[in-house]
Symmetry: C2
Subunit: 206 residues, 2 copies
């Protein structure tokens, strides 16, 4: 059995450097031009590759921007800050820091908007961005149960639904605050949000 990524083991291999250059050029173009004025021709020029090379690897602007933005979420982590409220506060600030970057601001909402009419794109976003975030919710929930702050999970199906709810609340609130209200997610806001969410979780016993 050979290497797992053996779709084509013959011929000239695709330049991995080109991949990185194209994605970096995409983020750069997002910052300078924004989503609507970003063109694949311009990205190719910035990356130092031919336009055809970009089209060989990505189906279009949507897919390219998803991959370019997804890389920004690699840095998301959940350090143990001692309490559930503090953990929530920490992840909110981290998420907000990413969202505050202009390449994320411009690109993320645009592809989400496009995804409303494109099932495959929605799945791509889910796999490369959303799931990575959602894992933090599950981790934080388990940590809180271990500390005794919340009762341990019993029904796994209910636990999954609750995790989904929390995730939509956290991510949704941060996104809405940043992009729609256009107000900063500073430490004060994060503290008040975390207090409210923690209070709701404790009150409903989930």
């Amino acid at each position: 059995m050979e290497s797992r990524t053996s779709a084509a083991r013959t011929g000239r291999p695709r330049s991995v450097a080109a991949d990185a250059a194209i994605l970096a050029a995409t983020r750069e173009a997002l910052v300078e031009l924004g989503w609507s004025k970003l063109t694949l021709g311009d990205v190719a020029t910035r990356a130092g590759v031919a336009k055809t090379t970009v089209y060989r690897r990505w189906a279009g602007k949507n897919e390219l921007v998803v991959d370019a933005v997804a890389a920004l979420f690699d840095e998301l982590e959940l350090p143990d800050r001692g309490s559930l409220a503090a953990d929530i506060e920490g992840v909110v600030l981290q998420f907000a820091a990413i969202l505050d970057r202009p390449e994320a601001k411009s690109g993320l909402m645009a592809v989400v908007a496009e995804a409303t009419r494109d099932e495959a794109l929605r799945e791509r976003i889910r796999a490369s961005i959303v799931d990575r975030q959602k894992r933090l919710v599950v981790e934080g929930r388990a940590r809180a149960a271990q500390r005794g702050e919340l009762p341990p999970e019993t029904d796994p199906e209910a636990a999954s639904r609750t995790a989904d709810l929390i995730f939509d609340v956290v991510a949704g609130a941060v996104v809405h605050r940043t992009l729609v209200s256009a107000e900063p997610v500073d430490e004060d806001w994060a503290r008040r949000f975390a207090a409210m969410l923690f209070g709701g979780l404790a009150a409903t016993g989930t």
Copy 2:
């Protein structure tokens, strides 16, 4: 003193029917084509007007879609359902019903994305869509205080910040659930969300 809207009281007046036809055609095109494939030329044809007429009234696609989508939010109300939790649940379901319509799905997030690089567009969205929603939060908060469910507001500045927080949480969660998670905001979800938010509000004494 003459009529208040007297920018130009001479010459041929602008057809109000054309305004309505263009906005309706925009919503129709949003449903059929989505944001990215919507063109002003197509909208003009659907509305039965010349392309130049559209450009005389709107600066571009962004502004036109904001106005077309804003009309969808006219129906938002806050009937008294007896308790704060029930009120939250009601407004969540209403908001979700609007967001579930394809013309809102496709258009709203796209203009929000564009607004990240356009201050004037952000202000237009705020005035015609966001503020209308936010008023419901203030109203619901006051009603809850009247019922004795929450302590009355003392510091008006703190009250305003809390209203902003609640608004971002409610609207953000519904938008995220609908567009990113792509899961339905049904009665069960709304009930669990309202319970969590109400618990958080009661716990933090805001």
